[in-house]
């Protein structure tokens, strides 16, 4: 029995994850190393990778800071009523339940060229939808819960004793944060950051709808993979996808290490 179950598990993992990864890699080098280099050195590929990098940077910074603060307010914000905090707490998870395409559609409905806000921004010369800001907003929406959900349980677990002690001893609240709260949530924040980077790197549906997937303008790495596939440019799609996969696997390894450190605390 035991043998059978272990073999079956190996089989499932191989078919679902390992073999597809191997196929992806061999597919990227279908036309040799030169083909792989060529797929990546296309101007649209370089531009797409740069767009993805920029989005990851902006989104991780914004959602990192606001996510930590939101987590702290939801756990410690006694200035908010308990009921309100519970309500906000359940709203934080909503982006998980929203299909990425719908997330993108929401931004288009709210800020698109036919809307009041969209027209206003367009008149002051600021394009939101089918441009970089819209893509950032879409990715912000999708990745918002990640940091909040990492920070909150740690804050709940450590309790308020140390922070209260620091406050009664007269420490300024920023100092309390840096010297008491920060050291205990540090690994949760690192973990949340890695999750946010991974998710914004791979965001596809929301960005595809909001960006319009305009080549050399609003195309990201994932939407380029999609377009290459639509154009039956399989080797190029595999090449870009392989780069994304390597990044994701690297982030996964980092996550494993961060998780171990988090558990030690």
């Amino acid at each position: 029995m035991r043998r059978l179950w272990i073999t079956l598990t190996w089989l499932v993992f191989s078919i679902l994850i390992l073999i597809p990864l191997v196929v992806l890699t061999t597919g990227a080098f279908d036309e040799g190393g030169a083909g792989f280099v060529q797929a990546l050195s296309r101007p649209e590929a370089l531009h797409a990778l740069m767009m993805t990098g920029l989005i990851v940077l902006v989104v991780t910074a914004l959602n990192g800071i606001f996510g930590i603060m939101m987590g702290i307010y939801l756990v410690r914000g006694t200035w908010l009523s308990r009921k309100l905090r519970q309500l906000f707490n359940s709203i934080v998870d909503l982006p998980y339940a929203v299909s990425p395409v719908i997330g993108g559609l929401m931004i288009v409905l709210l800020l698109g060229p036919d809307t009041v806000i969209g027209t206003f921004f367009e008149q002051i010369g600021f394009k939101v939808v089918y441009a970089f800001p819209g893509m950032v907003i879409a990715t912000l929406f999708v990745t918002f819960p990640l940091m909040v959900r990492e920070v909150m349980p740690v804050l709940q677990e450590i309790g308020t004793d140390q922070e209260e002690a620091a406050s009664t001893l007269g420490a300024y609240s920023w100092r309390t944060f840096w010297q008491v709260t920060w050291p205990s949530i540090r690994w949760a924040v690192i973990y949340g950051t890695i999750l946010t980077v991974a998710r914004s790197l791979g965001e596809f549906g929301a960005v595809l709808v909001v960006s319009g997937n305009i080549i050399n303008k609003t195309q990201t790495a994932t939407t380029l993979v999609y377009q290459d596939m639509e154009n039956f440019n399989v080797t190029a799609a595999n090449g870009v996808a392989l780069v994304l996969a390597v990044f994701s696997i690297g982030l996964l390894l980092l996550m494993e290490r961060a998780k171990k450190r988090k558990e030690v605390l």
């Binding site: 079956l8 719908i102 912000l140 965001e203 994701s248």
Partner: protein, 272 residues
């Protein structure tokens, strides 16, 4: 009042307002917006949009395929979690690390991997075609894509429960002369059920919403291979935002109900 204190209070107030505004504008406003938008033209327009056979067939198909994928994952995930917790074997830590890979990989990359693996030019695709089975751009590939994307949920929900499980109950069962099968179904399985349930519900809601992996392998035959998220995307592309919004709120409401159920299960388990 001390002026530094005043300045400090102003800062605190400004900071709190900024964070709450960010949260409300980023999360609440768009969700409220899509509901208001699709209901603003009145119920008849909404019902008309939903009544479009292509639309409701896409939603029904998505429900059916997501349910199939969830059942597969509940079975396979239970087995994999059991093997990963209870048995020692070569490659165990490798498998345990790559469980999360479907979460880490961009969904478009996941879809591409399935497309290349099962496509008409691949070994699997050729073998299937020779027995008259179409995989890619048909339902099997969509189910595989959904299974791939939601693979970690059930495993990760069961693993901690199995690790916590008190071995003495199991041993007592053996000492009392119960067989292995009987012990499994009466002692071990009940302990895993909450994990299987919450993991399966998470997987189901994710499968309903999945777009990236599915769009690459789905076709566009209404009622057969056109899923709801792909339908929404198509409607946005062809500038029918009202139609897209109507199907969206149908799908959204469904997902919110599932999310609420998951919360209910989890709070009940915690209060026990």
């Amino acid at each position: 009042m001390n002026s530094t204190l005043l300045r400090h209070k102003g800062w605190t107030w400004g900071f709190r307002t900024t964070v709450l505004l960010y949260f409300l504008i980023l999360i609440v406003l768009p969700i409220a917006g899509v509901y208001v938008n699709s209901l603003s033209d009145g119920w008849t327009a909404f019902v008309q949009n939903i009544g479009d056979p292509i639309a409701w067939k896409a939603v029904l198909l998505t429900l059916k395929l997501a349910l199939t994928a969830t059942i597969i994952n509940a079975l396979v995930g239970t087995m994999a979690a059991w093997v990963l917790v209870r048995y020692e074997f070569p490659g165990k830590s490798l498998l345990n690390s790559i469980v999360d890979l479907p979460f880490a990989l961009p969904t478009a990359v996941g879809g591409l991997m399935i497309l290349v693996l099962l496509g008409p030019n691949s070994i699997v695709g050729k073998a299937a075609a020779s027995v008259g089975l179409d995989l890619v751009f048909h339902q099997p590939a969509i189910i595989v894509a959904m299974v791939f994307v939601t693979f970690p949920f059930v495993i990760r929900a069961i693993q901690p429960l199995l690790e916590e499980l008190d071995r003495s109950a199991e041993e007592a069962s053996y000492t009392l002369g119960a067989s292995r099968t009987r012990t499994f179904f009466h002692v071990i399985l009940p302990a895993m059920v909450p994990g299987i349930l919450s993991g399966a519900m998470l997987a189901f809601s994710r499968a309903l919403a999945e777009f990236g992996a599915v769009v690459l392998v789905a076709g566009n035959i209404p009622g057969r291979t056109l899923t709801a998220s792909v339908y929404i995307f198509g409607e946005v592309e062809s500038d029918n935002e009202a139609g897209a919004a109507a199907v969206s709120i149908l799908l959204l409401t469904l997902s919110f109900i599932i999310l609420w159920l998951i919360n209910l299960v989890q709070t009940r388990r915690m209060s026990r």
